[in-house]
């Protein structure tokens, strides 16, 4: 079945440092979504990428979708303590409606 892998599993940064998490799929995706889950909370939708090579920005967050539509990344510039949480990518295989989540990258930010 479809697999979505994320690296790293965990990252601890100092406030103000940058952070990047990477997502790789074993199959070509029709689109990819990113979610953030705060400790003790539920996943919250951040963004969806659809086009090959697409780049989208939300304030300090930059999302990219690879040219082959098999990988994606989320980059946070100048992290803040409010960025703490687990970031999940979720891919939808071409021709299917099911969204498959990665295991997530847990981000800890120290002040």
């Amino acid at each position: 079945g479809q697999q979505v892998m994320q690296i790293p599993q965990y990252q601890h940064v100092q406030e103000g440092e940058d952070f990047t998490t990477y997502c790789n799929s074993s199959t070509t995706l029709s689109n990819i979504q990113w979610y953030k889950q705060r400790p003790g909370g539920h996943p919250v939708f951040l963004i969806q990428l659809v086009k090959s090579g697409e780049v989208k920005k939300q304030k300090r967050l930059t999302f990219q979708f690879g040219e082959a539509k098999k990988n994606s990344s989320l980059h946070i510039t100048a992290t803040q303590t409010t960025d703490v949480g687990t970031y999940f990518c979720a891919g939808r295989k071409s021709g299917y409606s099911t969204l498959t989540f990665g295991k997530g990258t847990m981000l800890l930010v120290s002040p």
């Binding site: 979610y35 939708f45 999940f88 939808r92 969204l99 295991k103």
Partner: protein, 113 residues
């Protein structure tokens, strides 16, 4: 708009007992999902409904899990009998149609002892 409502928030049961979870999606959302999230892992899809029809239940352990979505609105997920490995957070999500982002509920944390 009101979010996705789930109840109960927490449930502790003994193994071999049965349990049911309830979800009320955002009004007008045609698609409803049940996900299982084990601690430290990503959500895993159990079942997807489009209105009151099942779109995908390939990962639902049908010998013990069942789900229904009455009249295409709210939904219940049942486990009977529960096993220790069913301990997890059960998340309900909805969206207007499948290609959009999901809105998740707060989840039900199940502990099987």
């Amino acid at each position: 708009e009101a979010g996705v409502a789930q109840s109960p928030r927490y449930k502790i049961i003994e193994k071999r007992q049965s349990v049911a979870f309830w979800c009320n999606p955002i009004s007008g959302h045609a698609t409803l999902y049940w996900y299982q999230q084990i601690l430290g892992q990503g959500p895993k899809l159990l079942i997807q409904f489009q209105n009151n029809g099942v779109v995908d239940d390939s990962q639902l352990p049908k010998d013990r899990f069942s789900a229904e979505r009455l009249k295409g609105v709210d939904s219940t997920l049942k486990i009977q009998p529960a096993k220790l490995e069913d301990s997890a957070v059960y998340l309900c999500a909805s969206n207007p149609w499948t290609d959009l982002g999901y809105t998740f509920g707060s989840g039900t944390r199940l502990t099987v002892v």
